[in-house]
Amino acid sequence: MATGNGRLIDYDALVREDAVHGDVYLRQDIFDEEMKRIYQRGWVYIGHQSEIPDPGDFKRSWLGLQPVIFSRDKAGKYHVLFNRCTHRAASICQEDWGNTTGFRCEYHGWLFRTDGELAAVPYADAYGDNFDKSRLNLRRPPRVDEYRGFVFASMSETGLSLTEHISGPAREQIDYFCDLSPEGEILVQCGATKLAYDGNWKLQMENTIDGYHPNFTHQSFFSSIERITGSKPGIFKGDSLSEVRDLGMGHTNIDTRAYNRADPAVKARLDMMQQTSWGKKYYDDLVEAHGKERAEDVLTVGGTHMNIFPNLCVLGQQVRTIRPISPDRTEVFLRPSLLKGAPDEINTMRIRQYEAFYSPHGGGIHDDVEMFNRVSEGLRCTIDPWLIFQRGLHRETVDEDGVRIGQCTDETSQRGQWRHWKTVMQEEINL
């Protein structure tokens, strides 16, 4: 039991091993508590370092509902600062991104540097002799840390470190994504497509690592592929070698390694790529950087398809951020990434491949969004409030790292998210 708005919320009654109650997507008090427990106390993804490469660069982001500025100071250090004037609370950064020498609150003219330091207060003498400007720097989350350029913040001074939060099996997936770059760095610098829907943020979280839906929700996309290649991909079939995995801490992925390693089409594509001068250069540079075995495996696996709980998805070419707004409103920012050091042809191809499915006028993502809206409509029926997450429960296995594994159409991944969600929502802490 835990309290939400003074009322007891019985999470045991809402989240079972094989099903969750529709209230978890609908209730305002549960949403409010999620914002405190998951989106403040926990580690929340803010942005990627490469989005603000130069001194003075900034972008707006959110820690749950709270607006923050992700900025780089003139010495090159990055900061996560609350977008709130320490005087009378007006937001001080209005542009979504840009470059600046400082942030001026236009209400009364207080000026902050890009590292958050309060630089100037107009007519400061009226505050008296004891006025200590240094106590009124921009506020910041007590903990900020990163893994391979992915920057996270937590409002809790104590708790698991980011390394503990994103443990080995999850880091391994991020490594697959970043190691596609010959320099081991991705660049989140080619813009964002954005979508919104009338539904709960967890619907996007569940969907990203849902290996059951593609052959149905996205059948029109696969038909398009079939018209070009002559066959439908088997990657998401009920007998595919692909897996879904619960990596712990709510992190999950669709693991297509076994499928891709066995698929002659993947091998043929890689061989074909090497017929071009740029493809050959990319291959050679990857081998130089990672060694032949790792380079070939990275290319075969082709990145990852994963969630870092609660708001980061890394998949295909993209870095995706989920922004909860209310129990029934969510925005999602999808940012394709480039591979630092890779030939331009490779990076342009990544952008085009991304657009084919994920852009607003592309062939896939809005069919997902349509399903979120349909779920949100169906959730209003209370006669049977349960959503079933039972698929493959009887055939789940656990590996030596504690990773739970199911066939890719199983719901092992969603169960992992819900298990962690419930743990966090039931934690004995003072909010």
Partner: protein, 158 residues
């Protein structure tokens, strides 16, 4: 009104009508075999080789999208949007007899899907090539007013 303006207007109105009526295969037929269809994202001008677009399509990709929307299994368009476009503010850069002319036009689409009405507006930039007394579209770039907004559902073509 000049004969050229007449011809251009008729062509743009026809294009709009085909889109309004979800006749995307016929609509794709208005495009030249070698064409570029571009809806920029986030900002209006950048190198599309280095920045994501809402759509950056050649004739094949346009046809592929048209076929997908036509098939009835693109669920974001099931049911389909009911739409009408107003095309206006037409400016023409070229003369009668030119092989290729530039055209600029504003548009507003009123769309209703699942009982919800939405409006999408923008400015299109065309390069039209003469063919059999009418035109084919060699280039179309659509600068949306909502170029940097989170969109609920914009799966139809513009």
């Amino acid at each position: 009104m000049s004969a050229l303006r007449d011809k251009v207007e008729n062509f743009l109105y026809k294009e709009a009508r085909l889109m309004d009526e979800n006749r995307y295969l016929e609509w794709a037929g208005l495009y030249a075999d070698e064409c570029l269809y571009w809806i920029p994202c986030n900002e209006e001008d950048y190198d599309p080789a280095k920045h994501v677009s809402m759509l950056y399509a050649d004739n094949n990709l346009l046809k592929s999208h048209a076929l997908r929307l036509n098939e009835g299994k693109a669920f974001a368009q099931q049911p389909k949007s009911r739409m009408r476009r107003i095309v206006s503010n037409i400016e023409i850069d070229g003369d009668e007899g030119d092989e290729e002319i530039g055209v600029f036009a504003n548009f507003t689409v009123t769309e209703i899907r699942k009982h919800e009405q939405r409006v999408h507006s923008g400015r299109s930039e065309y390069k039209l090539v003469s063919e059999n007394g009418s035109f084919r579209i060699k280039y179309k770039k659509i600068n949306l007013v909502s170029i940097d907004e989170a969109q609920d559902n914009v799966t139809f073509l513009l």
